[in-house]
């Protein structure tokens, strides 16, 4: 069980499909559970920028107002031309209007540029705070948290969900605000200009709003179905591609294609349906604005003839009709995006709100440099309640002793070392280091005394130097090189293109397994722990590197209490105590010779390795 977990965690993360197409109403349409609560919580992130936001609101109002003045002035200009032509006014009237227009446009530009400028800063800083809070909080969570989620899932919180929130913060909030302002402003101006004509243009309004609302809800439903189908298709593709070699080996190409074709066809059908629906809104809005123009022209024309309006008013109204439809369409679009953002924010807050399940006690003991005396006292533990993985295990390791843990896969060896590192807390019993219960010690001080070398060495995409220094960040370059030399890694590191400055590609892919292990050992040597935990690689890498690793490990274990999950007999033979674990229970303990004499479980394990040799030489 524990082994399964290790593998689950160390499996390389699939590069997720990059950021999807933005906007276009293509967003996953999800329903948030608590829109108001989540929104008000998001708003709290804006608190430090209160003053800036007030300025933004003022600027938005100014730029929207100026934008609205455009058609009004245009109408005035048209009227002025007519008056001038009829000799009722001088050319200076038109000139003044044009100057005013220039002024209005410049102010509008300055206001909206300044507004965008400030919003960019505020929104990005809010995102930075949110990302940092999420990441920082994740660092306080225990392995139990990481076990229960895939890394893809967590990645998605920091990428897709953040993206959705960011889009709304940096673009939609201002759009929403100026959209509403525009809508209200247009209505007010139209009524001021000519109430009757304004009423006329509003005839089509409720009808359109109703239609758009109806289409919108149908669209959302259709998109939910589309997303589900798309998810299923992606699952099939992911599996087909990652298992491609097996598919080929077993000649199952046709079966794969058959499965894919069904899902692909479903996506095509549902996608066509959903997209067609979503695109209905645009032409409907088009009807609204064009119909408005017709109404303005028809009704306005009659009113002009009977003297209830001027031609300039008609020109203004035509301009406003265009501006009227745009915010409406946008509001419908925004609804989906805000929903998606709130749903994303909810998931982000879900992680931020996860209480750390391991906390240090109030006055936790700060362990200094310990001796390395380790006592497992009747330890029982389960990952899943009711399914114990370790049952009543007791053992005592004196300072400097080497303990070999042996037993079949899934016996509980990894769990034992996980408990010692306090990655998890026990159900009952206790683990004491130098007589102090590990639960009483601060985790940081405990782990500073521990060194862990895992079976699969995890390296970061940094330089070799930084990877080794990870063991002790304040180490000098000389200390790093000394540790690498002790770990027998100095030789091959020098042969790398840039020596210690070589940047390892993601997950250290440009080094062999053995070389990566040597770097991990150097890291542990540099950390200079008192207790060493070593998960020996199951299979030998190659003989020469293998010899080097063995030597490096011996150098590392010297003078430290070490727990080795051992797969190699030479390691087991060198151990002070061999602990045989099976199904969570300690079944045998003693030195290799003692256990061999006892002819028990360990003896059978040992002999099974050599039955081949016996037969071969018979």
């Amino acid at each position: 069980m524990a082994d399964a977990r290790t593998q689950q965690i160390s499996r390389p993360h699939m590069p997720g499909p990059g950021p999807g197409p933005r906007g276009h109403g293509m967003m996953a349409v999800e329903r948030a559970k608590n829109v108001r609560g989540t929104l008000s919580r998001l708003v709290r992130y804006a608190a430090p920028y209160r003053a800036a936001l007030v300025v933004v609101i003022v600027l938005a109002a100014v730029s929207t107002g100026m934008g609205l003045a455009g058609p009004y002035l245009l109408g005035k200009g048209v009227d002025a031309i007519i008056k001038i032509a009829m000799g009722q006014a001088g050319i200076d009237v038109l000139f003044r209007i044009i100057l005013t227009m220039i002024g209005v446009y410049v102010v509008s530009w300055v206001a909206s540029a300044a507004q965008g400028w400030i919003v960019a800063g505020v929104a990005q800083k809010m995102m930075r705070a949110l990302r940092a809070e999420l990441f920082d909080h994740m660092q306080t969570l225990s392995l139990r948290f990481f076990d229960s989620r895939t890394s893809g899932e967590l990645m998605s919180r920091l990428t897709n969900d953040m993206d959705a929130v960011s889009r709304v913060l940096s673009q939609n909030v201002t759009q929403l605000f100026s959209g509403i302002l525009t809508l209200v402003g247009v209505l007010v101006i139209m009524f001021v200009l000519n109430p009757l004509l304004a009423l006329g243009t509003l005839v089509a309004f409720p009808l359109m709003v109703g239609l758009v609302g109806l289409v919108g809800s149908k669209t959302r439903k259709a998109f939910r179905g589309y997303q589900a189908n798309l998810g299923a298709l992606n699952g099939i593709l992911e599996e087909a591609y990652s298992g491609q070699r097996v598919v080929m080996a077993y000649g199952q190409q046709d079966a794969v294609l058959q499965k894919f074709d069904t899902a692909n066809e479903a996506v095509r059908k549902v996608g066509t349906h959903a997209m067609t629906y979503s695109l209905l809104v645009m032409p409907l809005m088009g009807i609204l604005s064009n119909a408005n123009i017709a109404i303005v022209a028809g009704l306005g024309g009659w009113m002009t003839i009977v003297g209830m309006a001027t031609i300039g008013t008609i020109a203004s109204f035509i301009g406003y009709s265009n501006r009227f439809a745009e915010p409406l369409r946008m509001l419908g679009d925004l609804y989906n995006q805000v929903q998606a953002a709130v749903a994303g924010a909810e998931r982000i807050f879900g992680i931020i709100d996860t209480a750390p399940d391991q906390t240090d006690p109030e006055n936790a003991t700060e362990l200094g440099r310990i001796e390395g005396d380790v006592l497992f006292d009747h330890v029982t533990f389960s990952y899943v309640p009711g399914v114990p993985v370790l049952k009543d295990v007791s053992l005592h390791a004196r300072p400097g002793e080497r303990i070999a843990l042996v037993g079949p896969t899934g016996a509980g060896k990894t769990t034992m070392v996980n408990l010692l590192s306090r990655f998890y807390d026990l159900d009952s019993g206790s683990i004491k280091i130098d007589g102090i219960d590990v639960r009483q010690a601060s985790r940081a001080s405990l782990r500073r005394n521990l060194g862990i070398v895992l079976q699969q060495s995890f390296l970061f995409a940094e330089s070799v130097m930084e990877n080794i220094r990870y063991g002790r960040p304040d180490a000098t370059d000389e200390e790093v090189i000394a540790a690498a030399t002790l770990a027998r890694a100095d030789g091959f590191i020098h042969r790398l293109p840039k020596g210690y400055s070589t940047i390892l590609s993601e997950r250290g892919a440009n080094l062999s397994e053995g070389q990566r292990q040597l770097i991990a050992i150097a890291r542990a040597i540099l950390a200079d722990p008192r207790i060493l935990i070593l998960d020996e690689a199951t299979s030998s890498v190659d003989t020469r590197t293998e010899v080097r690793i063995q030597e490096a490990l011996l150098a590392l274990m010297k003078g430290r209490t070490s727990f080795v999950i051992a797969h190699r007999l030479s390691t087991i033979r060198g151990a002070d105590q061999v602990i045989m674990i099976d199904q969570g229970e300690l079944v045998e303990r003693g030195s290799h010779e003692e256990l061999m004499q006892a002819q028990g479980a360990y003896y059978r394990l040992y002999m099974s390795q050599f039955r081949g040799q016996a037969a071969a030489s018979a």
């Binding site: 993360h13 990059g18 999807g20 197409p21 245009l74 200009g77 031309i81 044009i98 446009y105 509008s108 540029a113 400028w117 960019a120 929104a123 930075r128 990302r131 990441f135 920082d136 990481f146 890394s151 990645m155 591609y241 491609q244 070699r245 097996v246 074709d261 692909n264 066509t272 997209m275 032409p283 088009g286 009807i287 064009n290 123009i293 109404i295 022209a297 028809g298 002009t304 003839i305 031609i311 020109a315 035509i318 079949p408 896969t409 995890f458 970061f460 995409a461 990870y470 062999s512 199951t538 299979s539 030998s540 590197t545 010899v547 063995q550 011996l554 007999l569 033979r573 390795q609 050599f610």
Partner: protein, 600 residues
């Protein structure tokens, strides 16, 4: 845009729908453009001449035009969505079908994670553009040209004046989109960096916690976060300045039109209605430019996506069936390598295998031993033609494997690969993957031989237990044993185990080898077995052990022979099973601490 254009061949089957959409587009634009013309008519001929009849009929015509335009738009949308979705489905299908023809060589270069991205988000990007090209992408320029045409028809003088603005705006767009695209790319890069830090933090969570480096991680993330924030702010600020500026330029054109239009009206060369219509056409002509400016970045992204898609579609399968290839019938299972050399990419300089020759007789067990990178996996991958040899030949019952049909060749080979990939579905589905008609008895026999029967029985639903995607709920050793059972069920003539027991403990592995011995000798015809192993205990009983070093066979023979003749083999043996005795050559450069192995 070259890649994008090449992908357009996938629109081919839907060309009538696409053409229909484009035709409707023309109708839409015509209708939209007619509206200012109609409002001019109302102003000049209706209001100007106090003619109510003209006012009302023209208004009705406008309403009808608006409805027609909307109708055209709806049908156009429906058609372009159909074309877009069908296009996407076809491209996805073409990708998957292409990959089915690939050899391991092709797959090595395209990581599977990338393939998924190409089939999902890359296809999505391109599909979006295809759909848009039948809608706004084409509509915008048509609209613009139409508006300019109508502008000239309304007033030639005003037309020229306004046309002068176009170079300014276009220049502006070019100057602005270049750097903006670059800045966006910089944001993307920093976002990638942030994701890398996160990904590493998640993958290495144990290391982070073990070395108490949470604070350092927070710092690492913090600096990546800061870098991203700074660059994002920069981009959004540039956009904040430039987008409204474009509007200013557009509005300047309106002002100029009003001024010149006004003067011309006063001189009696234009009517008021013409001025109003001109201003409308002007906005109509300029608006598409704004829209197109917004499309530059998505177009560039889609082109990049298209080229990634084409990279897969253009991939030439490295292993192809020869014309007239024979079907392998009644195989015996004799495999021979004759002077085989192999280099990835066919480049002789870095050969992975050099001049390898050996014979595996039917029923024999051949073990292959050697360091990582010595060519073990490559060697056995040549048998089912996952790769083709660069020189020499591999024969199955004396026939060059390249002269056999791929299907018949592979159907007689059972292989358990290094990484035990399982599929979603039940345990049963996975075991009988290669032979869906296998009986329950056969499945159970295979599971038993692979030492999987016991843990399967302990699962909640036994053989009907649905395993999580990619076998996440099973341990590595359990997955490997299922992969072996899967290989056994096909009743192969040749069984290949490619380091497929690395996560199985030694005791279980020994049982597995015993069971395989029994199973293989019990079958009517003996099965030839290839075992690639790192653990020496796995290979002790093989009929032939090949020791590979640097792509060459440096020693071959049984365990006993090799212990006498091969120092390399002895070295491997001693390092794993020996009493701490090492060959003198190795002893010389070892430190004293190794002595602890002996005495500790």
């Amino acid at each position: 845009m070259k890649s994008l254009m090449r992908l357009y061949r996938f629109v081919g089957p839907y060309k009538w729908k696409a053409l229909g959409a484009l035709a409707l587009l023309l109708g839409m634009v015509a209708a939209d453009l007619a509206i200012p013309r109609l409002s001019q008519r109302i102003i000049d001929q209706g209001i100007g001449h106090q003619n109510l009849h003209v006012v009302w009929t023209t208004a009705l015509i406008m309403l009808g035009t608006a409805l027609a335009s909307a109708l055209f738009a709806i049908v156009n949308n429906a058609l372009s969505v159909q074309v877009g979705q069908s296009f996407a489905a076809d491209v996805r299908s073409a990708l998957l079908r292409r990959v089915q023809q690939f050899s391991f060589g092709n797959l090595d270069r395209l990581q599977t994670g990338q393939l998924v991205v190409r089939s999902t988000s890359d296809v999505n990007f391109v599909q979006m553009i295809v759909q848009m090209s039948l809608r706004i992408l084409t509509r915008a320029p048509v609209w613009m040209l139409g508006a300019i045409g109508f502008l000239f028809a309304t007033s030639i003088e005003l037309g020229w004046i306004v046309l002068a603005f176009f170079p300014v705006i276009i220049l502006f767009m070019v100057v602005f989109t270049g750097p903006a695209t670059k800045m966006f790319l910089a944001v993307q890069k920093r976002l990638d960096r942030l994701n890398t830090v996160l990904q590493e933090n998640l993958a290495g969570v144990r290391v982070v916690k073990a070395f108490v480096r949470e604070d350092q991680e927070i710092e690492r993330f913090g600096s990546a976060n800061e870098a991203l924030t700074a660059q994002s702010i920069r981009v959004f600020r540039v956009l904040a300045l430039l987008m409204p500026l474009m509007m200013v330029v557009m509005n300047a054109a309106v002002i100029v039109a009003l001024w010149f239009g006004g003067s011309m009206t006063l001189e009696g060369r234009m009517t008021v209605g013409q001025v109003v219509a001109s201003v409308n056409y002007l906005s109509m002509a300029l608006f598409p430019l704004l829209m197109l400016a917004g499309m530059v970045a998505p177009l560039a992204a889609a082109d990049a996506s298209a080229s990634r898609i084409l990279e897969v579609l253009d991939g030439e399968p490295e292993v192809k069936e020869r014309p007239g290839a024979k079907t392998l019938t009644a195989p015996r299972g004799r495999i021979a390598f004759e002077n085989v050399s192999f280099a990835y990419g066919g480049n002789g300089a870095d050969s992975v295998l050099r001049d390898v020759s050996f014979v595996a007789e039917p029923g024999e067990t051949v073990a292959i031993l050697g360091a990582t990178g010595s060519g073990k996996s490559t060697l056995i991958h040549l048998i089912p033609r996952f790769y083709d040899v660069t020189a020499g030949r591999v024969t199955f019952d004396g026939v060059d494997v390249r002269d056999l049909t791929i299907t018949s060749l592979r159907s007689h080979i059972g292989i358990a690969l290094q990484e035990a990939v399982l599929f979603s579905g039940t345990i049963r589905d996975n075991i009988c993957y290669g032979r869906p008609d296998a009986s329950q008895m056969e499945i159970e026999a295979a599971a038993a031989a692979a030492q999987a029967a016991e843990f399967i029985a302990s699962l909640p639903n036994g053989y009907d237990t649905v395993i999580g995607e990619r076998g996440t709920t099973l341990s590595g050793g359990q997955r490997q044993r299922l992969a072996i059972a899967r290989a056994l069920v096909v009743r192969p003539k040749v069984l290949i185990l490619d380091d497929s027991t690395s996560a199985v403990d030694i005791e279980t592995e020994v049982k597995l080898q015993d069971a395989l011995d029994r199973l293989v000798s019990e079958s009517e015809h003996a099965t030839t077995r290839f075992i690639v192993a790192q653990r020496i205990s796995t290979v002790l009983l093989a009929d032939k052990i090949l020791v590979l070093d640097g792509g060459r066979i440096t020693a071959a023979g049984t365990h006993r022979e090799l212990m006498e003749t091969s120092p390399v083999y002895r070295e491997i043996y001693n390092s794993q099973l020996g009493e701490g005795r090492r060959s003198p050559a190795v002893d010389a450069d070892r430190s004293t601490s190794a002595g602890e192995v002996r005495h500790g």
